[in-house]
């Protein structure tokens, strides 16, 4: 940690980092370090999960997925990683500070008709639910309808299908919260 901080200070002194970037980075480092310390204090084994880093979404045409997730869920494609076979679709907090991304990809085998399901795997993530903050039922429904999507579910917890019939759930904190089940 000390060396890390020293590098940051050097960055600040040299002008590579501005004051704000410096402060944010130190605060983040402290938070992550703290989480690690807390994890060590709480348990002698295992990891402290901060969040989902990314999800690897394999489909027959990543461009369709890229455009759909960009259009419907406002995910932003990191253009430097769009190599003709994959796109990294970012959402949430800033990358490296709690942000997540969906890797939309089309391996050659899947483009040729394979399912993308690995042999021997007995589990499936059958849907992903995303939190929409400042939930406004009318606005959410109108937005989805304007995209031409068929919406099901209940107020505060809606489902749509993406172009590959993958189930996508959108929810408010009030309706979908692990501690309110």
């Amino acid at each position: 940690m000390e060396r890390f901080i020293a590098d940051l200070v050097q960055g600040l002194d040299s002008g590579r980092l501005n004051r704000r970037e410096f402060c944010e980075t130190v605060a983040l480092a402290a938070a992550v370090y703290g989480a690690g310390e807390a994890a060590q204090a709480q348990a002698s084994r295992g990891f402290k999960v901060i969040g989902i880093n990314h999800m690897s979404y394999t489909c027959p045409d990543y461009l369709k997925a890229r455009d759909w997730y960009g259009s419907v869920l406002n995910m932003k494609s990191e253009q430097t990683r769009d190599d003709g076979n994959r796109a990294n679709m970012m959402f949430g907090p800033e990358q490296g500070k709690g942000g997540t991304f969906l890797v939309a990809r089309t391996p050659k085998s899947v483009a040729s008709g394979a399912s993308g399901i690995k042999p021997g795997v007995e589990a499936v993530i059958d849907h992903v639910c995303y939190t929409v903050p400042n939930w406004d039922e009318a606005r959410v429904r109108a937005t989805l309808k304007a995209k031409g999507l068929e919406v099901s579910g209940r107020d505060g917890s809606l489902h749509v299908f993406d172009p590959f019939n993958y189930d996508v759930q959108l929810a408010s904190a009030a309706e979908e919260n692990a501690f309110k089940r």
């Binding site: 989480a35 990891f47 999960v49 406002n74 939190t131 304007a146 993958y166 692990a178 501690f179 089940r181």
Partner: protein, 199 residues
């Protein structure tokens, strides 16, 4: 409504939209029952803040939940006879990077149900997309230490995923990547070796 109009006038005055587009937007807004609908119809989509949960379906949800609890120190809450939730933190904690009060901790729901009904509408064609792995960011990640920890926990098939991550299989063969916070959507853009997901 006033703010909605002001925004689009501002866009027009700054050359972001042309006169015709401004007229279209304001006409639509004025003829819609309330501004929320107009804004929704005009906007590009929904801003999702975070993954709320992933729905993980397997033959034995208790076995899966116990494995995720053991490896990632996750509590099990809200158990039923077919599923249980494993939040990434304690009650009252906020997700990293989130200031809003209406964005809860991400959680995994481990569940067991027939594959035919795993998706909401069995009458629909089966999905042709699959989430083939998820990557979890863990605090204070160090690859060698992580590998030793996983081995000590009895996790099999631990393999490198670049310098900043490792891959493992859970009890049902589902691939989980464990990463440090430095693995991002942009990492590797100039230096592929620095990215944890090289595939």
């Amino acid at each position: 409504m006033e703010g909605f109009v002001a925004k689009h006038v501002d866009d027009y005055q700054h050359g972001k939209i042309n006169r015709r587009r401004l007229i279209e937007i304001l006409t639509f807004a004025a003829t819609t029952a309330y501004a929320g609908k107009a804004a929704a119809a005009e906007s590009s989509g929904l801003d999702v803040a975070l993954v709320n949960h992933v729905s993980y379906t397997c033959p034995d949800y208790r076995r899966a939940a116990d494995w995720y609890s053991k490896v990632f120190n996750l509590d099990q809450v809200g158990a039923t006879n077919r599923d249980v939730a494993l939040p990434f933190g304690k009650k009252g904690e906020k997700p990293l990077g989130i200031a809003a009060n209406d964005v809860p901790l991400t959680h995994i729901i481990c569940r067991t149900r027939p594959q035919e009904t795993a998706t909401r509408a069995s009458t629909r064609p089966k999905p042709t997309a699959v989430i083939d792995h998820i990557a979890l960011t863990v605090a204070d990640f160090d690859r060698d230490r992580a590998k030793a920890e996983l081995t000590a926990l009895g996790v099999k098939n631990v393999r490198d995923g670049g310098p900043y991550s490792v891959y493992v299989d859970d009890p049902f063969g589902y691939e989980i990547q464990i990463t440090g916070i430095g693995v991002t959507a942009v990492c590797g853009a100039g230096d592929r070796a620095g990215c944890g997901d090289k595939r």
